[in-house]
Each structure stands twice: as C-alpha cells, then as structure tokens.
Symmetry: C2
Subunit: 443 residues, 2 copies
C-alpha cells in the first residue's frame, strides 16, 4: 500500500508532499517533498494513530443510559450500581458485539490501539466459564473483527474494599484467586496476534492488597501494569483510614512503580504526590470525559507537566468515544479549574502538546512502539480532512482538530490495514447492527 499526503506530522516536524509505503503492518519508507504516483491513496493531513490506554468496552452498551437522577444524590457510587446491573447480565456474545462496535468507533475517531482493562471474567452466577478465558477471548475476537491493535489487560480483583473487605454480590463475575489469574494471563498470551500485548491490571487498592499487587508485579515483570487509583475522594479517605497514607503516596512507597506502570485517573493528588508520580516515570492514565461524567474531579495537569510527568488518554466508560474530545476535555477541565487558557501547552500549540504527549504516554503505557511516521514504525495512521481547505502544514492543524470542528477523521490504518474509509469503519453497518441487537436485549 502506498499513500501520498499533502501534510504529514513526521518525527522531525511537519512536512509537505509526503509519500509513504507500507509493508506487512509497518511503515517501509517515508519521503517528504515527493510527487504522488498513480495508485497512491491521496490523504490531506496524515498523523500517527493514537493509543487509547483505558477502555471498559462493555460499558459502551449503556452509553447515555445513566444520565438521570435517582432519589438520593447521584455520584460515582450510584453510577457503579447501575454499571454492575448491566455487567451482571452480559453474555459472551453480547460482550463481543458491544466491544466490536466500541473498537470500530475508536478506529473511526483516530485510535489505532486500545488498552482493554478487562474485569468481566465469569458467568453471571460468578462461576468460571468452561473456558475460563471465554470473556477475554471475546475481547480478542472483537479486536480481530475490527482490526484495532490490542493491549489486553486482564484484571485481578479479589476484594470488595480496603481491609480487605469481602467482595459484594455485584462483583462476583470479577473474582480470581492468584493462581487462576496467572492461568488466565497465560491463556491470553496464546490468543495474541503479533501486534497485541498482554499486560496486567490489579483493579485498585480497594480490590487487591499491596501484597497481591507486588507479588503480581514480580511474577510478571516487564509488562504493562495498570491500576485504578485516587479516582474518588471517598477512596482517598478509605485509604487514609486503612493505611495512614493517601493512595498514590501509599502505592509509590510500597510498590516498584516505574515506566511499565500506568496509574489510571490519579485525580486526587497532593503537590508532593504529583511530583513523585512524575518522577516515577509511570504514565498517568487520564480519561477526561469519563472523569467529567462521573464527577471525579480535576487532575492537576499543569503541575504534573511542569514536573515532567507523562500521561496518555483513555475513553474508559466509552460514554462517548472520541480522541479529540478527550484531549479537549483535559484542557477544558484545566481552564475551568484554573481560569486560564492553554494550560497544557508548553509554549506554542496546545493541541500539539496534547497530541504528542498522548501518543508517547499512551504507547509507553500499552507496551507498544510509539506510533510515528517513520520507517520501521507500526503502520498506524490517521488521515484528517480539512473542510476549510486551508492547506496548512503546521501545529495549528492539531489545535483546529482538537478544539474546532473543521477537521475530521477521513481514513485510518491500523497495523497496515485500511480500516476506516471516508470516515466509516469498513464493517460499521454490520457491527452496529449486531451491537444494537445485543443492547436491545439488555434495555
């Protein structure tokens, strides 16, 4: 496959008239200042594909169906009850259908890899399926159906809260013994395509003890290692009560947190925790739309970036699936919190800073090579269309994509496959119909 782009974001910066050749899932050559050849796919603006570092694919199935107020004040915790009810009824077939729609939509939005933080393992009654990796197999099948590259993160979940507390009935599909979990990880290895990665995800300090977390980290080294942390203030308070430390402080002082680690949310940080998290070289896994939707709070991005912190973006609950929207909400939440503008910018373009950081941080967190338009890199490409036809080749394109509406995703390639064409996934109609049927049965 060959492409010709009028403007492309290369590792060295923006270039015009760039011709690329793709071979076997990777970029073979990149030639700026070239002429197009017959047969080249013509693109306007070419970017590397973004990693989506945090997804619970099944939650796409109830997008928009928890936006109503109950008799008690609404919070993350009342939302979680609704989410559990949906999770408890989901069949393996429905999981695959809903995940495939979510992954097709991710591709349509410019994500070429997804980190699936996967905790829905067992049958509705809590017993393992005949194949204990049945639900993970459905995630791999959805990734294969859609063509997105997958970092699968099977979740270790053992407890219902700090203490540890016994798990609740709503958590029965999530639970593993350490041995059964280790077998699940091995099963996942056998399902991975060459472009896929297998990581691990102790769910949270609520659901795994520090001993379990550090044992897992030792048993499975050099893999993406993700954990939810400090998303809600109630969790911070519980952690303080049980450990005398705040969650991020507690984790950093007891576990070997380093570049393989991704701390999902990390919303509630003291200035000292912010600096320590940055210094760990772990990635902060920010999910700005979900964090707004769930009323989590505002991540201290300016201080974290000033300390050299690394972050990536995730779609988490998938209430909306949008790459530009996550970057935009990260910046807008900062502006609302600080009453300034261009908070995530260093100097120059805010969009470019957000895009480059999310690209590098997302790839690091997902154990994947950083997407870049360079020979040898994965052929994960996003072509944008500029409906205003401004013929720019500079960072303003990223500002206009993320904050405006004139630029839209036209084409996407993942691992070299041309999966999104004219804005639609090549199997969009079929995948949407299957997911809609699965969801209708759950309404």
């Amino acid at each position: 496959m060959t492409l010709f782009a009028k403007a492309a974001l290369l590792p060295s910066g923006w270039a015009r008239d760039v011709r690329l050749t793709l071979r076997a899932g990777t970029i073979h050559s990149v030639t700026p200042g070239a002429a197009p050849l017959p047969g080249d796919h013509r693109a306007e603006i070419l970017l590397p594909g973004l990693p989506n570092l945090h997804s619970h694919a099944f939650q796409r199935g109830f997008s928009g169906l928890t936006e109503h107020r109950g008799p008690t004040p609404d919070s993350f915790w009342t939302w979680r009850e609704m989410m559990y009810r949906f999770a408890l009824t989901l069949s393996p077939e429905a999981m695959q259908a809903i995940a495939a729609l979510a992954y097709a939509e991710m591709l349509e939005q410019g994500f070429t890899r997804v980190g699936e933080f996967h905790y829905l393992h067992h049958a509705p009654d809590g017993r393992p399926y005949a194949n204990p990796a049945e639900m993970s197999a459905r995630i791999f099948a959805a990734a294969s159906e859609t063509g997105i590259s997958l970092t699968h993160l099977p979740v270790f979940y053992a407890h219902g809260g700090f203490g540890p507390q016994a798990p609740g009935a709503g958590q029965r599909r999530f639970l593993h013994s350490p041995d059964a979990f280790a077998r699940l990880v091995q099963s996942c290895e056998s399902m991975a395509r060459p472009q896929d990665r297998i990581g691990l995800a102790p769910h949270s300090l609520r659901a795994a003890t520090m001993g379990e977390i550090t044992t897992l980290a030792q048993a499975f080294p050099n893999r993406p290692f993700h954990i939810h942390i400090a998303e809600q203030q109630a969790e911070v308070a519980d952690c303080l009560t049980h450990t005398g430390q705040r969650p991020v402080d507690h984790l950093l002082s007891h576990a070997p947190v380093g570049p393989d680690w991704c701390l999902i949310h990390a919303t509630h940080l003291t200035p000292a925790e912010t600096r320590a998290l940055a210094a760990s070289n772990a990635v902060a896994g920010l999910c700005p739309i979900t964090e707004a939707n769930l009323g989590d709070g505002i991540f201290p991005a300016a201080d974290f970036l000033a300390a050299g912190g690394r972050f990536g973006l995730g779609t988490d609950s998938n209430v909306q699936i949008t790459a530009k929207g996550e970057a935009q909400m990260l910046e807008y939440s900062q502006r609302l919190g600080t009453r300034g503008r261009n908070i995530c910018a260093d100097h120059g373009s805010t969009g470019a800073r957000l895009f480059r950081a999310a690209l590098a941080g997302g790839a690091q967190a997902l154990g994947a090579p950083a997407p870049q338009l360079a020979p040898g890199a994965p052929a994960d490409l996003v072509a944008l269309h500029d409906s205003m036809g401004f013929a720019m080749a500079d960072d303003r394109l990223l500002d206009r994509w993320i904050f405006g509406t004139d630029l839209t995703v036209a084409d996407v390639w993942a691992h070299g496959a041309h999966l999104v064409q004219q804005g639609r996934h090549i199997h969009a109609a079929r995948l949407r119909a299957a997911a809609a049927a699965a969801c209708r049965a759950l309404l």
Copy 2:
C-alpha cells in the same frame, strides 16, 4: 408539508406515531397515535428546535486558531487581543460569508433561532459605512441565506472600561453615540422578516455606563435586552473598585432587570447574587463551551436552579457549534466543580431538564414564542436519528443525544422550511466554500 414521527416530544410529554402538518411557517396540526400517509416525511424522533441565545458569528472564522500559548500566561484578555486583530480586518462580505456558515452549522446541530450579539458595526478605520447598518444587513442576509430565525441584538459600546475609560484602538469598529445607535436599531427593524426580532445589547458594564443602560432600557421597552456580565474575575474586581458592588449586584440594584433581560455568562456570583438573579426572572445566558475555552469559570447552576432560575444556551465564540455539546458541557462543568453526577437534573432525566430549560429560557431571552410541537407554534423542528434503533419514546432519548453519540440530527425545519436534510444544510457546500475563501484571506 406533512411529517410522521415514530416518537415526538409534545408539550404533554412523549408520544408515539405523531403526524404533523405545517402551514405558512407554523405547525397546523399535531396528531399522536396516527398512521402515516403517503407523502409524509418520515422522522424517527421529533423535538422542538432549540434557540441559540448568544452568538458572535464572525468569531467562527478563527475557530481553533487561538489555542496556543504566547510568551505571557494566557487568559481571556490575551484571547481578546487576538480576537480584536481578526475583527479589525473583516470586510462586510467576509462577515456575511462566515455568519452564513455559522448559521448553517447551527441549523445542522438543531438550533433554529440565533441571538446575534452584534458589535462589529463600522469600517476597519472606525468610520461608519455609507449605510451605517451595513454590517447588520450582512447578518440579516446570512440569516436569510440559511433560513435560521434571527433575534438581532445590535450592541451599544461606548467606553473601554469602568470609569468610564476611553475606548482602545482595537474597539474602534464597535462605537456609537446614543443617537447613532438609536438610528441603527430603527434600521434593523426595517430589515426583519416576520419571524425575526430586534433587541438591544449594551455590551457590558465596562462598555456602557449605568446611565446609558437604563436610558436604553426606557427608550426601547419590551424587547430582548442582553448584556455581558461577570464573565471574568478581573471584571468583578474592576466593578468593585469603581462602584463598590459586584457586577450582578450592581446591575440588579440600579437597572430594571426583568423577564426581557438576558445576562450573558453571569459566571461569578455570590449566593445572594445567584438568588437575586433567579428572582429577577431574567435569563442567565450560559455559553458553556466558550466559558470553558476562555477559562471563565463555573456557573453555580445547582444553586441557581434550586432558586428557580431560568437559563438558556449560547454558542458565543462559535469555536465549536453544537447544541448537545453546550448542554453536555454545562452539566460536565458542574460535575467537575461539585464532584457529583446529574447536577442539573431535578429528578429523573438530566438531558430532559437541560433541554426543556434551554428551550424555554432561550425563547424568553430571544423574544420569541417557545418552540413546541403544538398547533400555532412556529414550525421549528429537529428530527433525530437513533443509530441503535432502540425505538424508545421517553426522556432517555435526550440523555443519549446529549451525553452519548448514538443520536444525531437528521433533519431540521425552521419557520417551516426543510433546511437540513440527512444531516447537512441544503446549501452546505456552497456556504462552506464561500466562508473558507473569506477566512483564507484572513489567515
């Protein structure tokens, strides 16, 4: 024109199988539980069209082009410098072309009326055009070209700051004497179509003295009367310094604020100001995306709604034009600020509360009959498509539209004209090309 909708939001609530007839810009009949007849336009989900109560159409021309950081900390005030530079170069032709694109996009998003807060009156050198209403005429022309209903709000601007200070050079296109302004209002009357309204907009407490504001309110009673207020903390501080009162307190205690009034932004309110604004029955003109983009701050929506306050939604800077997005950002800014969920809901659906409030408040602020699917109401209609085909007929549709991605605008009618078909304005291509050409000349 006749329509048949599978689900429609009537004044009495949701109904299925609703047949409507339109005549001369109004709804003639509404029949729930009907059968479709040959020739009916078939819609899935039918809503009244939303009013967009605050637009500066020309700012659409630099959407996404101010999202970069300069050498000094970025703020509303550095953004305003960039905006002034763009405003000072804009020709009447460019104004019309850019406004027409903005209005077509508003229709595509479900807005059927726009309140144009119009302050760019004079030639780039500050002198009046041969026709002093030239620039207003361009706004009327853009509304006519696109079919959107217009509440035109010519702006009275006389000073550069509290004191009053002399206007700055960047404000020279905005300025009027009271007499010249009165003539402009009369000129606008002569350009209005039957569905249009003419209001007034003293720009702000910075740009008009209290004496000028109250004189205008007496001279032109019973019209929409809009003013920017308490958007930025620096403005609150300036007002305190010069008057001893905060802006909303100062306005409410010196001007006859009532149901004709719309206070744009009103972001920075004490609890007492919040209650007093609600009690005035004026509309709070909220522009949540612009308020996030400009780092204005978070409006105290929960307290304002608890006090019975009225609000509507506006797209203001038009950095993005989206009806659902404004409602979503209002709610998300509240969740980020309070760390709860469904803050704008009363009980039940958050989407429905936001939609109904914005419909009523927007219409009140724009001096227009409230859009509703009822005989005699304006034929301002929005048809949504549900890509999941859930066949619902309840408020969850509004939650899913505003917070999810499955529902999209398919068709829009304004004043009875079928202006958006299959998601696109009927003149979209031509209007976009003209606006793009105008903008390219300004880059």
